[in-house]
Subunit: 114 residues, 2 copies
Amino acid sequence: MRVLWDDGPLTVRDVMKRLHDRGRMVAYTTVLTFLTRLEQKNVVASDKRDTAYVYRARISRQSVSASRIRSLVDQLYDGAAAPMLLQLIENEKFSPGEIAQLRKLIDDLDTKPN
Amino acid sequence: MRVLWDDGPLTVRDVMKRLHDRGRMVAYTTVLTFLTRLEQKNVVASDKRDTAYVYRARISRQSVSASRIRSLVDQLYDGAAAPMLLQLIENEKFSPGEIAQLRKLIDDLDTKPN
DNA sequence: ATTCTTCAACGACAACGGTAGTAGGCGTCC
DNA sequence: GGACGCCTACTACCGTTGTCGTTGAAGAAT
């Protein structure tokens, strides 16, 4: 859900529009409720700009995704990242370019280990 | 939660004991409720054995984890697995042995592509 | 036969996630 | 100066998740 504002600070209506663009047909008030709930959890902040509030993310996509991945690894593999990695590689498809990038990353791991 | 019976078919009480061993202090009835709910969702099955029911998993850890990973990739990266992979490698630590295994896997991808 | 233990069924309940309706304020446009 | 439209606040509903208590049946113990 919150993936949605890695597109800059937006007003409620704008958020709703973006959602509609993505095929997510929700009512204005739904979006508003969501945003206020997220604000309570400190994941977004709002400023009064003009008449309407403008909401912006307080935490980065990076950090969200890091913690989501972490918790999935914990749940599925008791915290062992390697099996997760293997599974990911086996299940999903990668382009040659991605494979090359991946290989490079691994080489980096060798030179600068742990 | 369901990570818990990749240790063979168990009775309710046994499941509870395993949970307690893992520091998860839940009441008997809680476990029972869980198991029956899981049975309704067809993720476990039960047979009457002796006096008590014995529950066993109907779906493999593999398939659960595949679908969980998939849905996380969808949520976080719109279905693109590569960024997820990169993040995973950057965030988590791997032993030399795991790195070697990983490298081998990548070589396999090259020879047997797509 | 009465008590003790074990088990399953049923139901309860709070918290949360997802969705939305209604109410009331404030500006604007004829 | 009322009608229209956008804005927030408050409230509500339902389904799921996590937790458990009570109850009653059925077997074991005394």
